[in-house]
Amino acid sequence: MAPARERRFEALFRENYPAVRAYALRRTSPDLAQDVVAETFLVAWRRLEDVPADALPWLYGVARRVLANQRRGADRRQRLEDRIASAAPPTASHDPGASAGEAELLRLALGRLPEPSREALMLVAWQGLSGARAARAAGCSRATFAVRLHRARARLAAEVAALDRQPVSQADSLEVT
């Protein structure tokens, strides 16, 4: 194998592995996340000539498709709700008393959105992408992504408001269903 190709891949890997791993961990269980990351970089290794200079959105796109493939045949919504319900609370840098409840509420609301909306919001809010990069990761045009994100925001706000209005006991029961 050409050393230059290996060097390029190693640089790509070192630069993007933490972000791709974090992307997968936020969307599936740690065990499956490892498989997703492995498959994503295997695709990158095989198709290194196709990887653009700004590789991260491309890698997110591959990881998204690998995840979708993994989830085929399963109840996605149930899986994500389970994942979100069992997610670790924010670290101590946050004010646990004030924000833990709201964080759970937001994650619960996020889990109720359709997958494209959820992905758009997570790419922007958790992966920190913006503009064309988020659109490339989502596999659509900038305009399409802007519309999708706008609608996703509105849906998220509606879900948060709906959950906020529910009695505590009912909201709690939603986490385990």
Binding site: R21, A38, R46, E104, A125, G131
Partner: protein, 326 residues
């Protein structure tokens, strides 16, 4: 394009894994392992051009592609990818220690950790210098470690030849304790099931070949051995004898694929555990000529006496060199 607003800020704060991009040392090692597996995966040229413009078949290509990726990922985990073009790391490591027409010269430092055994402090570390060929010739010199940890005095010498098609063969051994040469027969323990790493006469090549033949050897990442980049080859546990399970980890040079270090762990049914750490200080191939061939014979030990029967060999086969006691 995107205006951050209060809702998006709140959502960002609800990230369940806000520090997921920061890797722990263990996660760094996982990353190194994954990188090594990917780099060791043969690359097949993409044939996407042929699929262009064939919309009807696109689904089929996608399905085949997904299957290929899944299969490739599976193969990358095991890395015993004999069907793929180009040798894998395991195959290269095996080839590096299996050259015919070569004398392998190895100097290794072995350290045993066995809490249940009362090994004298001065004997926990030994140095072994050996010369061997792939057709069964073996000459080993054993040294105790000096107080400073370096190679100390010679305490044993051994030379023999494996009988073709067998694991053992006739040999002569010399002991510094009584300066005596004895005729012995060496081989693996009765009941052994092919995990020879703790066999004192086994070489890394034999261990690698045995584990690979059982399909147990896989690449588990990279490591740094005194500044040299190495691949980690690991086996799962093997039932090496009726009362012992064993696993082995090898570190092979990422350029030459020759062994740099190994770590063998044995678990006994009694609960005892033995760890053998080996560092290959020298691992080189010498051309097979008169000079290197002479290294395969038992050393001359002035004044050595011959034990009864030392003039004859035990069992079938031949020593491969003149018997000084005959």
């Amino acid at each position: 394009m995107f205006v951050r607003d209060e809702l998006m800020d709140r959502l960002a704060s609800a990230d369940p894994l806000p520090n997921a991009e920061r890797l722990t040392p263990d996660e760094h090692r996982e990353a190194d392992a994954l990188l090594a597996r990917a780099l060791a995966t043969p690359v097949r040229p993409a044939r996407r051009a042929a699929a262009r413009g064939r919309g009807v078949r696109r689904g089929a290509f996608v399905a085949v592609g997904i299957a290929c990726v899944a299969l490739a990922a599976f193969a990358a985990v095991d890395l015993v990818d004999s069907e793929a073009p180009g040798p894998s790391v395991v195959e290269r490591a095996l080839a590096a220690v299996s050259h015919d027409g070569t004398v392998y010269h190895v100097l290794e430092r072995k350290r045993l950790r066995a809490p249940s055994m009362s090994v004298p402090r001065g004997r926990r570390t030994v140095y072994v210098e050996s010369w061997r060929t792939t057709d069964g010739r073996l000459h080993q010199r054993l040294f105790l470690a000096a107080r400073d940890g370096e190679r100390g005095r010679l305490f044993g010498d051994f030379a023999g030849r494996r009988t073709p098609g067998r694991r053992g063969g006739p040999a002569l051994t010399w002991s510094a304790r009584d300066n005596t040469i004895q005729s012995i027969r060496f081989g693996t323990t009765r009941g052994a099931r092919g995990a020879p790493s703790l066999n004192p006469y086994a070489d890394p090549g034999e261990a690698l070949r045995t584990f690979e033949a059982q399909g147990r050897l896989r690449v588990a990442g990279t490591a740094d051995v005194d500044g040299t980049r190495a691949y980690r080859l690991v086996s799962g546990y093997v039932q090496s004898s009726p009362k012992l399970r064993e696993k082995v980890e090898f570190l092979v040079d990422a350029e030459t694929y020759l062994p740099l270090a190994s770590h063998s762990t044995q678990l006994a049914t009694s609960g005892d555990r033995y760890d053998l750490f080996t560092r290959y200080l020298v691992y080189e191939r010498l051309p097979l000529d008169a000079s290197s061939r002479a290294k395969l014979d038992l050393d001359r030990h002035p004044g050595a006496s011959c034990a009864p029967g030392a003039g004859a060999i035990m069992g079938r086969g031949s020593l491969g060199f003149p018997n000084p006691c005959r």
